[in-house]
Structures are given as structure tokens and as C-alpha cells.
């Protein structure tokens, strides 16, 4: 590596930061692309119902829908706080 290149690459360029940020957000948005519009609302309602019994936050529930040829699977992931499991 020449001295010039060394100085050029020393600091991460703003373009490469842009690229990394884009790769992450685009991948995330693509994974949500085929999801029905009601999923976020369903997730909010689920959190509300579960919170009646167990103290949980929004980010402890995740909902996703997988569609196959002849059936759709609604996958629900709820992380319960540790104390609740013990009791």
C-alpha cells in the first residue's frame, strides 16, 4: 500500500458509512415487505393483552407471518421477564 493510499483509507469514508447503513435498513424493510398491514396493530393488541397479566414491553413480542403454498403460519415470540418464569 502506498503512503498516499494509507492516508486515504485511514479514516472511514462517509460513502462507506452510507453503504453499511443502507444495507441494514434495506434488508430489514425487505423482510417486512410481504407482511400484511395488520401485523403491527396485531402486535400492539397482543402486548396490551399480555401486559394485563405479565409486565412486558413492546420489544418483547414479535409477530411474523410465513406463507407457504397451502397454509400460513403466524409465528408469535414472547419473551417473558425472568422473575415471571421463576414464580
Amino acid at each position: 500500500m502506498s503512503l498516499l493510499e494509507f492516508f486515504k483509507t485511514k479514516k472511514k469514508s462517509s460513502a462507506s458509512t452510507a453503504k453499511e447503513r443502507l444495507q441494514i435498513i434495506v434488508a430489514h424493510e425487505r423482510s417486512q415487505r410481504d407482511q400484511p398491514d395488520y401485523l403491527p396493530a396485531l402486535q400492539r393488541d397482543l402486548v396490551a393483552v399480555i401486559s394485563k397479566y405479565v409486565p412486558i414491553n413492546d420489544d418483547m413480542v414479535s409477530v411474523s407471518l410465513d406463507q407457504n403454498e397451502d397454509c400460513a403460519v403466524l409465528e408469535l415470540n414472547i419473551t417473558l421477564p425472568e422473575a415471571e418464569i421463576a414464580s
Binding site: K8, S13, S14, A15, S16, A18, K19, R21, L22, Q23, I25, V26, E29, R30, R33, D34
Partner: protein, 270 residues
């Protein structure tokens, strides 16, 4: 069989209208009967870029509503023989365009044209939906900048699900990336996303790279599509893109900054 090409992007101000004017004119110059339709209802601008703003009598919505026939509304370009322009309506009624109405007009245009270029409005709302719905091909106009790239990806998702081809389960809309307002020297300095970066993120085939160019403003000032300025970088880059669209294998140009001589490198050249 006529082909419908939508020029779309999600984000505004990236160069859709500039591109529609250039590509449509280029296709006509190559001998294909072409019409460019302005879908930007309420914000008509293609007429200005094409220099026919004083010849608009009837518009797209008039034809849909049966207030004028196509021959009355189509504006024949004075420079290029096989080129027509169909201006947008300036109405504020956002329901002026309907899928049935648009389809009726497109079906009639198909009988007499080889290419129908649809200049989409920005956004992902009704206007953009109308412009892309019947498309066979999409030119996704993107600037090397984060919000434009993200919006282009959004538009790709919509092209794959909310078009007639998608709904009927036919061959999907053929997607092309057109990277515009590209500054090779800024890319070389690490200040701007490069063409490879954008291709990698969007993963659709590259149709062309249009450099950031003074020629574009100058052409729009004069009401002349930039592709007619054959001596300019942007004009030549659009011509290359048209030839690729028609299936020619043309090498990409304007991807590197102009080589600077020793003199300019020593004195004041960046």
C-alpha cells in the same frame, strides 16, 4: 406490440422527468414511434422540459373523460418526427386518473406507438401507482444518496406486487437501474456512493449512469431534452442508455473523473 416503460423512483427531484424526456426522445430518434405521458397530475412539467408548454390545449384527463380525443390532446414534437407528448392535467382532483381510464388511453396509444414512456410523479401514492400499473419495464431512477436508494428499493417492492403483471402472475416487470447525478470525482474521494455500491444494494441490472451535468439545466432552460445536445456528457450518457434499452451492448462511460493533466494537478486541480 407496444411496450410500456415507466420512469419511477419514489423520491422526488431525482431526474425522472429529465429521463423521461431524454429516453422518449432517444427512442423516437432511433425510429420508434414513441409517446411520453406526464402522469404528474396537478404538477405538469414534462411540457416545459420538452419545450411544448404553449401548445397544450387538451390533456390526459380530458381524454379519459371523453372531453377530447387523443389526436386533439397529443402534441407532435417539432424536432423529432416520431415523437408525441401527452401532457398531464393541472386539476387538483386527486381522483382524476382511474385505472380504467388510464387503461383505455394506453390501449388506444398502443395501436399506433412502439413505446409508451410514463413519467411517474414522486411518492408511492395513487399517481405513482397509476403510472407503473400497466408497465412492461421500469426505469428506476436513483441518485447516489441514502434516501434515494432506500426509496428505490421501496418502489422495487411495489413493482413486484402492485402491478398488473404481478397481480396476474405474469412475467414480472423488467427492472433497470438508472443512476443519475453521478459525480465520479466525489465517488473517488469517498464522499458519494459508487455505482457498484448502489448496484449491490438494489441488485437490479444497471441500464446506465448519467453524470451530474451542467448540460441538464441548460437544456431545461431551453425546453430541449438533453439527449439532443449530442456534444454533452449527459446527452451522450442518455444516448448510450437508449441503445442498451434497445438491446445493444454499449460500454459504460463517465464512470471515472476526467483525467487531469499534470498542469491542472499541480495548480488548483482537485
Amino acid at each position: 406490440m407496444a411496450e410500456i416503460i415507466v420512469v419511477t423512483s419514489g423520491k422526488g427531484g431525482v431526474g425522472k422527468t429529465t429521463t423521461s424526456a431524454a429516453i422518449g426522445t432517444g427512442l423516437a430518434l432511433k425510429g420508434h414511434k414513441t409517446v411520453i405521458i406526464d402522469f404528474d397530475v396537478g404538477l405538469r412539467n414534462l411540457d416545459l422540459i420538452m419545450g411544448c408548454e404553449r401548445r397544450v390545449v387538451y390533456d390526459f384527463v380530458n381524454v379519459i373523460n371523453g372531453e377530447a380525443n387523443l389526436n386533439q390532446a397529443l402534441i407532435k414534437d417539432k424536432r423529432v418526427d416520431k415523437l408525441n407528448i401527452l401532457p398531464a392535467s393541472q386539476t387538483r382532483d386527486k381522483d382524476a386518473l382511474t385505472l380504467e381510464g388510464v387503461q383505455k388511453v394506453l390501449d388506444e396509444l398502443k395501436k399506433t406507438h412502439d413505446f409508451i414512456v410514463c413519467d411517474s410523479p414522486a411518492g408511492i401514492e395513487k399517481g405513482a401507482h397509476m403510472a407503473m400499473y400497466f408497465a412492461d419495464r421500469a426505469l428506476v431512477v436513483t441518485n447516489p444518496e441514502v434516501s434515494s436508494v432506500r426509496d428505490s428499493d421501496r418502489i422495487l417492492g411495489i413493482l413486484q406486487s402492485k402491478t398488473l403483471r404481478a397481480e396476474k402472475g405474469e412475467e414480472p416487470v423488467t427492472e433497470h437501474l438508472l443512476l443519475t447525478r453521478y459525480s465520479p470525482d466525489r465517488v473517488e474521494r469517498g464522499e458519494m456512493l459508487g455505482v457498484k455500491d448502489v448496484e449491490e444494494i438494489l441488485s437490479i441490472p444497471l441500464l446506465g449512469v448519467i453524470p451530474e451535468s451542467k448540460a441538464v439545466l441548460s437544456a431545461s432552460n431551453q425546453g430541449q431534452p438533453v439527449i439532443l445536445d449530442t456534444e454533452t456528457d449527459a446527452g451522450q450518457a442518455y444516448d448510450d442508455a437508449v441503445r442498451r434499452l434497445l438491446g445493444e451492448d454499449v460500454e459504460h462511460r463517465f464512470l471515472n473523473s476526467a483525467k487531469k493533466g499534470l498542469f491542472s494537478r499541480m495548480f488548483g486541480g482537485r
